[in-house]
Amino acid sequence: MDSASPGGRTPKPQKPPGSPRFWGDAIPPDPAGNPLSDLGAQLGLVARGDTAAFDAVYEQIASSVFGVVKRVIRDPAQSEEVTQDVLLDIWQDASKFDAERGSAVAWVMTLAHRRAVDRVRSVQKEAERERRVATADIPYDEVAEAVESSLERERVWRCLASLTELQRESVTLAYYGGYTYGQVAGLLGVPTGTIKTRMRDALIRLRDCLGVAS
């Protein structure tokens, strides 16, 4: 099924049938060959309408987009719908990616997470979300399940585990649960000012623990 070239990530320029290119048709590949910096380069091609690059971008990020969207939304059908919207957003708005304002992965995941949260909140206005009380423990457990064999996931899990309990709960409820800081404060019975501070402290610690400071 996978029609990507061996080795995978080199974006192939489009070549419509019947319109051979002149002077050879290779666009020089990203010399770095690094998947993540490569993602940024491919977004640059996507911004110019390159569907082959979009295919490569899909291969790299679709599972993460679907994963985080589903973590927040839960409902599989809605998650799929929102994932599709996010991926189409990436196609339409690739020109908005600016490497000076963070990595391509962060740009994509910010888009995905915000879309998921927006969906949850708009649905929430119509009906209260289920299992509200029980939710406090769920996200972290699920992160633990997700560890699987991936070293990268294990690292995230270990860094989450290194936070204080209040920090960790704030992050998991906010990020995976899609709650606002005010809702998190209510769920945990802690003043909002404290929660805001804990959220920021927690992300700073996570960032340092993961070594992703930019």
Binding site: P13, G49, S64, E80, Q84, S95, T110, V171, G193, S214
Partner: protein, 264 residues
């Protein structure tokens, strides 16, 4: 008056903001604050690298069929213009003509910048007229000199309500940028960084569609600098724009492989 809390301690919302754990109103206010606080913006950037890892740690295989649906949807969905708030900064940064072209046209979406863009284009249109002076095809020469006599026409296409921008790289090097308006039946064409040609050859631009292959103009010799803007009028819906290399004297039909074949 609406934002005493944020003015007092804006930084404390950085974590909540980076996790979208914030109401729409707070989000908008915090973003206004970010626009004025480079340090805060930098912190958000770094925190989002962390939240991105929280996201990728949840990766799971998407449902079968999703990719086909996404690719099919992309194939029939227009891409949006770049926006907007960072255009001035970006314009100041760019050095080469190619990127400058993109910055101009990128500013299209921001109507407030259009006067600037149109003015700049008008200036270049005069240079463009000189570049195209060597044109050989009679009809087209007439059409082009007409077009360039009125740089206002260029500005009119750029500012048309339905103005649409497309950019493509050209095989062998170079970038073309067009802005088209179907209501005005016209497009503005620019190119940068095209491969230099021997004196006996020239680039020729075509509109191809149900009305036949129509030559739009020739560019005798492309240096690495920008070519155009050139107006192509008589645009019809369903047309494609093509670029070929032809004998310097010009031809009435494309005779060489298309380096660019753009559905308009």
């Amino acid at each position: 008056m609406k934002r005493p809390q944020l003015e007092r301690e804006p930084h404390t919302l950085a974590g909540a903001y980076a996790m979208d754990a914030i109401s729409a109103e707070d989000r908008a206010r915090f973003e206004r604050h970010l626009a004025r606080c480079a340090e805060c913006a930098q912190e958000i950037t770094s925190l989002r690298e962390a939240t991105a890892r929280l996201a990728t740690a949840t990766a799971q295989t998407p449902p079968p069929g999703l990719k086909e649906r996404v690719m099919a949807a992309a194939a029939t969905t227009r891409q949006r213009f770049p926006v907007t708030a960072d255009v001035p900064a970006r314009s100041a940064r760019v050095k080469d003509a190619r990127i400058r072209t993109r910055a101009w046209f990128g500013s299209l979406a921001w109507r407030g910048r259009l006067v600037v863009a149109a003015g700049a284009v008008a200036t270049v249109a005069v240079l463009g007229a000189a570049v195209v002076a060597g044109i050989s095809n009679g009809t087209m020469r007439q059409q082009l000199s007409q077009a360039q006599a009125s740089s206002q026409q260029v500005a009119a296409v750029l500012t048309a309500r339905d103005a649409t921008m497309m950019m493509r790289t050209v095989g062998g090097g170079g970038t073309v940028t067009i802005v088209m308006s179907h209501t005005m039946h016209a497009l503005v064409f620019t190119a940068a960084g095209l491969h230099a040609l021997p004196a006996s050859r020239a680039y020729e631009l075509w509109l191809i569609g149900s009305a036949g292959d129509r030559p739009v103009g020739m560019f005798p010799q492309a240096s690495n600098h920008m070519v155009g803007p050139v107006i192509a009028s008589g645009l019809r819906s369903g047309d494609r724009l093509a670029l070929t290399v032809e004998p310097a004297g010009g031809t009435s039909r494309p005779t060489s492989p298309m380096m660019l074949d753009l559905v308009l």
